[in-house]
Structures are given as C-alpha cells and as structure tokens.
Point group: C2
Chain length 363, copies 2
Amino acid sequence: MRRTTIRDIAAAVGASPATVSKVLTGRGDSLISDTMRQRIRESARELGYSPNLAARALVTGRTYCIALWSETLADYHAAVANALLDVLRPSRYEMVITDVVKHPDWYAYFQRNAPWPVDGIIALDSPQSVEAYLATSAGRNTPVVSIGAYYWEHTDHIGVDLGAGVRQAAHHLAEQGCRRIAHLTCDHGMRPGEPRRLAYEEAMVDLGLEPRLLVTGQSSREDARLTVRDLVGSGQLPDALLCFNDETAIGAYRGLRDLGVRIPDDVALIGCDGIQDTAYFDQPITTIVQPVNELCRSAWQCLQTRLDEPDAPRQSRMLKADLMIRESSLRIGRPVEAAANPITKAARTGEEPRPDHALPQEA
Amino acid sequence: MRRTTIRDIAAAVGASPATVSKVLTGRGDSLISDTMRQRIRESARELGYSPNLAARALVTGRTYCIALWSETLADYHAAVANALLDVLRPSRYEMVITDVVKHPDWYAYFQRNAPWPVDGIIALDSPQSVEAYLATSAGRNTPVVSIGAYYWEHTDHIGVDLGAGVRQAAHHLAEQGCRRIAHLTCDHGMRPGEPRRLAYEEAMVDLGLEPRLLVTGQSSREDARLTVRDLVGSGQLPDALLCFNDETAIGAYRGLRDLGVRIPDDVALIGCDGIQDTAYFDQPITTIVQPVNELCRSAWQCLQTRLDEPDAPRQSRMLKADLMIRESSLRIGRPVEAAANPITKAARTGEEPRPDHALPQEA
DNA sequence: CTGAAAGCGCTAACAA
DNA sequence: TTGTTAGCGCTTTCAG
C-alpha cells in the first residue's frame, strides 16, 4: 500500500494540498477555519499520515538533522556521541552518525554519494575529513564545527588542549617520586605533531628526565596489555606509564596485574580521555579528563549560531582537559586532591562518599 | 554562493541535466560518448559538485540510509551501535541514530516531524516504539527489524534470550557453593515480564534456594555502588550477586571493594551483557555475553532481505547469550572453563594468553 | 548518443 | 478562509 501523502488527505476532506500543508505544519494554521483544521487533523490521524521529509527538505532546504562525524563509536567517541544526543534531545534535531574512515577518498565520495544531507556537521577528531569537505560545494554551504583534541582550525572549532593535561600528569608523576616515566603510545600517537607526545617530551625536558617512548600498534586494550607484558618480561620496567589514552591505560593495568606488578607501588599509571570505566578499578586510574559535556554543548551552540547567521565571523574556543588524580598514580599520598574525588576518598578513608557521579567533569 | 547542481554542470559543458545525471550516477553511463563523459566528470570536479540526496531520494524513493533506534548510546548500546557501523561499512548505507525516548507520544511525533526518512530501521531494545511505528503509514512502508533482549515479535526480529544465560549463571553460582544468591536489579528490571528477573526466580525455585531481590533505582554504576554500600552496612550481605547488567555489576564491584569485601571469596559477582570493561578488573567479572556482532550481522542481513522482497514472510531468529565465567564468580576453581578465557587463564597461571581479543563473543 | 518533458511530495507566493 | 501555481534538484522514460 502506498504511503499516505497530503494529497490523500486533501482528497479525503475535499480541500487542497496547500491547506493541508498549512494545517499540518502549523504555518498559517490560524488562517484556516476550525472545522477544516479539525477535519484535516482527523483525516491525517486516520490515514496514518507522516510527512515525507525528503520532499520537505527539498523545498525548505532544511532537514533538522545534523551529522556527527567520527572515525569510530567506541569508548571516548561513544561517550561524545551519547553526550551530543543528550544535548540535542530538547531540540527538534536528529543526529546521523557518519563513519568518516569509511571514505578514504573524500573527493570521489562527495562527488558520487555525498553523506546524508544535514543542516550542519559536528566533526569529532577528524580534521582531514573537514579539510576535504570544505573544498566541495557542499562544504561551502553546510556548516561544520570541528571539535576535539584534533580539529581543523580554518573553520568554526571547539578544541581540547590535551597538552596541558599531559604536562600536569608528567609533573604529578615526578612529584610522586617517579623518575623513569615512559609514554605508552600507539602508531597514531607517533604521527608528527601529535600533541600528547610533544607535551610529554616537553615536560620531560622541563623535569630533566630521560624520555622513553613505548609504542603499541593500535590504541586498543589488548594491544597495550600484550605490549606491557613483553615489557615486564624484558625487565626494562619504567616506574610510571603515561598512556596515550584510557584504552591503553586499561590494557596496561591488566598487563601489569597479569604478572603481579603492583599499581602504583611498582608502576604508576595515568590514562587520558576520562572515560567512566577508569574510576571503577581496584586502583582507580588517574586520567586526563576531556570535558565531554562542555564540548558537546559548545559545539551545538556554535552550530546553532552559524545556522542563524551563516556569515558571522569564525567562532572558536579552546577547552582544557584536566588531570583527575586517583589511586593509580598516588605513591606518597596527596590528601587534598584525593579528597576531591569521591571514589578515591571512599576507597582510602572508608568515609561516606558524595552521592554524585564518579566523574564530575564540569563544575 | 549557491550549491552546485547538475544544471550548473550541464550549462558549463553545454549538455542537458539528463546527460549529466546519467554520467554521474553511472546509469546509462555507457551510452554517453567518451568525450562528453570526460567533460562532465571534469566539470563536476571543478565545481565541487555533490548531489542533493534529498532530491535524489524524492525521485528514487531510496535514501541508502538506515536508522538505529535506541534509548541511549551508553555502554552496551554503544557497543551495538559501533558493531552495526562495522557491519554497514562495506555497504553504501549510512546510519542515523534516532533517540527513541525523545518522543514519548509517538503518534503526535510521527504526524508532525517523523524521523529522518530511511530505507529501513533497526530497533534495539525498543518494542514499544516499534509497535507505535507500525501503526503509522510510514510503518507500513519502511521495514523495521526489532532486535535485542526486548523485541516486538509481530515484525521481523532478532531476539536475544537472556533467560538461558541467567539460569546458567544461577546454577554456576550454586555449584560454586553459593546459597544466598541475590538478584541486584533496578526499576527497569522490576517491570512485569522482565526476562532476567523471571529466569532468576525460576532458577532459584529449581535450586531450592530463597530468592532475594535487591533493587537499585537506575541501572547505573553509581546507583548500584551506593545500594551495595548500604547493603554491606546493614550486614545482610548475600554470598552472590547476580546483577541486572554489567553497569550494575561494575558498580557493585566498586561498592564491595570500597568497604573491603572480597570478590569472589565473600561475595561472588556476575554481570550481564558482556561489555568489554568487565574483562579488565583485578577480578575479571563473570558476565552473560550478548552476541553483539552476530546480532548486528543478522539484523542487517534480515533488513536487506526485506528491502529486496518487501512481501517475504516474517523473519525471526533467536540468539543465545552465554555465560562467560571469570574470576569474580570462581570460588572453588574450574580449570576447564577458566582455561577457555585467555584473561582468566593468564591471571591464574601466569601462562602466555592467546593473543586474541579478551571477549571472544562468537565462534 | 543526447535532450525534452514529466513528476517525486511538499511548501510558499500569490490570487481569489 | 481557501485554492492555484510554480518549483526545490534530481531521475527517468521516451523521442529525436
């Protein structure tokens, strides 16, 4: 059976499609007589009408749909997607997730298939895709906000400065008495200009310590776990691991525990991103917390402004990622910081924790 | 500047829009002269053309876009979304995530705003939305596959039987010597007909044990943690907690550890869903693993079949969720099962684990 | 091999 | 208060 259209409704009530449209969209609603409005509404309900949004989008040029571009939907990226969904909930916008690695040749992709038409794009950690996109005519018409630790600066963007967090982390480890602080990174982390690695190297110079890079293939838990197991076997164990992200840190945690290495006594451990999981380990893992909610709120606000005023000047904002100190890096105790984290506090003192969320990311 | 259309290209090369369309879509490509094809392609590239998919969808009736309906994008649901993205990657389909709780009044919603037009829908754990949707005329035309532990059976569906896993879990706990096995559930888990609770109660009858329901508000980690802390304080500690899901189990893990309760010695712990995190704790958490990849593969296959043959008979399939035994429920040792899990094995024996993923969900 | 014409379902001017 | 008309950008016959 064919899908119901406004013509069907118009025919059923003896009106014109235009009148039906006016009633159903609410635009010009008030100019229509009560009886007509009533009859159209009833008929729509009876026929199970729902509008064809492709047609509507074609004429209005608006889809009320925005895209989240991301390379994956795992872990931190999933948390961002979820937070963005929360931000969008009060609005009438839907979210389409476009898998940006899917399309290595962006030019060919945009020419043929183009991603689903949206009013705007929020591109998470995918500056190259943004760059390619902006070169197309779609890119000149559909605004994009580039967000995250990796962003394209020649368009609206909300960046996150992980470097500051990494430097904080390195100094914190030094204060805890660590001297052989290694950076456990991955192929991705070895790319030129990678902010985490650069910040680590810089901090090590500041501290007068010898940098050491340990590289695992993927930034996956299993890869990190196996890399760390090898490391333990080789006897070349550092006294602290500053990890590329939480996945790597969690894998390292497990790899160390597999072989009985104590955390933080033998090796102090720090992750990055601030995913929820890190808070629940026997030794909760210190991590550099990305301000996920603030990132999504800002991104959406920025995009809305852009939709309202396409010609407004470029907007940009930098957010800070702060160190959240927990057990996994506390060797000599820091009661002040520890007390700020309900989980840490509870585990250490047995006192009643504050009943709020384990990862208070923002004030 | 206006977005480039096929008319612009047609004008630029002195051809008609129809010819441009043929070349750019590849349909009728072969009937066009080489030179013309060449010039059109070049012009498209120069003008940064990308097609307006709303217009294309309007005429072809196809969007090459499917929706994932889910109430959230956290934890297990995020894992499903990610797995579905993987399944879709080789295809030319995009995925829209529609937040189904957003729209409590489905009828009003569909009448006015309707979700983004898609060729098909995969609805995860959202049977009520599916039911409401099928009553609309969109629902009669856009196929939906209902998947997960909660599904709507009067349409194509891929179900997951958690009951079997819960029964396995209860019996496993009894074999481990547990006698006071409580079910830690949440408001959601108390709804009538909830399969996990029913399977638990059934298993307890089989085992001749007294059932005990502990109810935490949300199925969140923090709620579970606080509930368990209260429980420890009250002195009414069971010797096993069979949890509603992994979130609850992880919160319980932390709540028990906060107060020095040993796992599994004092309290054995079992989660449900099989999210990756459970494998990385000091005492890896036994869990009932949902076959996420198989679920997504089946769902997509089912939907493709339906798109090809709209009038094919209803398809359905049930998948099993199996118990993955790990440390958190092993009190008397079960070397055979333990050896099957690389992480468990490694932690117990110090041997080299298989280098595969920590959570082999399917064969 | 190429173009003209029609129309997908809807909205927005403008007429009546 | 309602209807008529035109057209969004594209694809698809069908005619040349």
